[in-house]
Structures are given as C-alpha cells and as structure tokens.
C-alpha cells in the first residue's frame, strides 16, 4: 500500500490528489474522498490550527497502518492543514483507495474518527477579535469508539 501524509499550511487540490494516487494503476476500483471545511458558525471570522509536530505524522501514520490491517487498501492520502484558515477554506482531506467500495468507505470513516479524537491538533476560533479554544466533543469520542 502507498501512503501519503502531509501536514501543511497550503491548500490542496482534491482532483490532483486523486490523480496522484491512481496514476499508472489499474487495481483500484473504488476511491473515497472526505474533505472537511471551515464553517462560518455564529459569526466565525477565522480558525487557527496548532499541532504537535513531532507527534502528528507519527500518530496519523499509526492509524493509517491500522486501517491497512483492517481493510484491503491500495492507497491512502491524509492531508491536514495548519495555520489560520477562513470560512470556506478546506482543513482536512482523507483519500482511501481499494479494489471495492466498502473498504474505501469504511477506512475513510475510521481515519476521520481517529483524526478527530487522537491526532494532536487544536483549533482556536476567532469571532470579531475574540479568540477561544474549541472544546472536544464527546460525540466525536463516541464515533471513534465504534471501531474498537
């Protein structure tokens, strides 16, 4: 399996990421993409993401390896942006590729649940000059527990 993990300030292009993953391959029958974006909830003006560089890629790589053990994946791409983002900006991309759709759907869902609850990122919201740290949601923990 090929895996690409990137923590970056720059935006990503979903079509380019899919092309990179399928190039010169004829064994992929299903590609699932999940892209997360910044919502302008309650007048949000910006969202700033902080992370723990030494731990982030390692943590994500561990969960990609676990996904690979659980499902017959051919390729996985995980991109997570950091820095200050605006409403409408993309934050996160998960692309999973497999021979058949079920594995690709489930692995993408699994990886997103683990990104939400285990990967060391923190969001700070800004509304009209006032900043506050986003609280973790117990519903995200409940989602992640489905895979245990």
């Amino acid at each position: 399996m090929t895996a690409r993990i990137s923590i970056q300030h720059e935006d990503f292009d979903v079509a380019e990421e899919i092309s990179a993953l399928t190039q010169d391959r004829t064994d992929i029958g299903a590609i699932v993409t999940f892209a997360g974006c910044v919502r302008a909830d309650d007048g949000l003006t910006s969202l700033t993401l902080e992370h723990y560089p030494a731990m982030t890629e390692r943590e994500i790589a561990g969960h990609v390896a676990e996904a690979q053990q659980r499902w017959p994946l051919v390729a996985v791409t995980v991109i997570h942006r950091i820095g200050t983002l605006k409403p409408g900006d993309a934050i996160v991309l998960v692309v999973t590729a497999s021979s058949h759709r079920r594995a690709a759907f489930e692995a993408a869902d699994f990886l997103m649940d683990y990104l939400k609850t285990q990967a060391p990122f923190w969001k700070q919201e800004e509304r009209g000059g006032v900043r506050h740290w986003v609280e973790a949601k117990t519903s995200d923990d409940d989602d992640a527990k489905r895979w245990r």
């Binding site: 997360g36 993401l49 902080e50 992370h51 723990y52 030494a54 731990m55 390692r58 943590e59 997570h80 934050i91 996160v92 997103m112 990104l115 939400k116 609850t117 285990q118 990967a119 060391p120 990122f121 923190w122 969001k123 700070q124 740290w133 986003v134 609280e135 973790a136 995200d140």
Partner: protein, 83 residues
C-alpha cells in the same frame, strides 16, 4: 526532561517548551503534575483540573500512571480538536 505545552495549557503556563531536572520522587505523570503545580500561578491554573488535560510521553498518548524519566519528552495539552 523536556516539557511541551500546547493550546490553552501553553497560554496559561506562558511558554511552549522547557527543560527541568526532576527530583527523585517524581516517577509518574501524576507525580510530575503535582510537582509542576507548585511552579507558579500559571501552572496551578493549567493543572487545576486534570480531567481537562491529556498527556503524551515521547509522542505516545498515555495515562496519569505512566512512568516518566529524565530523558523523556512529556507533552500536556487539552483534548484534541483536529479534523
């Protein structure tokens, strides 16, 4: 030992990284938190409610009973909110 702080833990303590020499009675994360609480008001505030904190030793999520030693990198942070 290297200590790292993230998000509001970093803000309350006022720095993102520091190096400390541990007294011999600090053997676990819980011991370390008790020790750090006495460092000042910011530390006491950051570590006031342990239930609101998460900890990693050498970039692995661990619990409060995990062992810590002089060569470890210990990070304290709130529950994560990525994705």
């Amino acid at each position: 030992m290297t200590l790292l702080y993230f998000a509001w833990v970093r803000q309350k303590i006022g720095c993102s990284e520091e190096h400390v020499v541990l007294p011999s009675n600090v053997k676990t994360v819980a011991d370390l938190v008790d020790y750090l609480r006495a460092f000042g008001a910011g530390y006491a505030d950051a570590f006031a409610d342990a239930k609101r904190l998460r900890v990693a030793v050498n970039q692995n999520h661990v619990g409060w009973d995990a062992a810590v030693g002089a060569d470890d990198e210990v990070a304290f942070f709130p529950p994560v909110t990525g994705g």
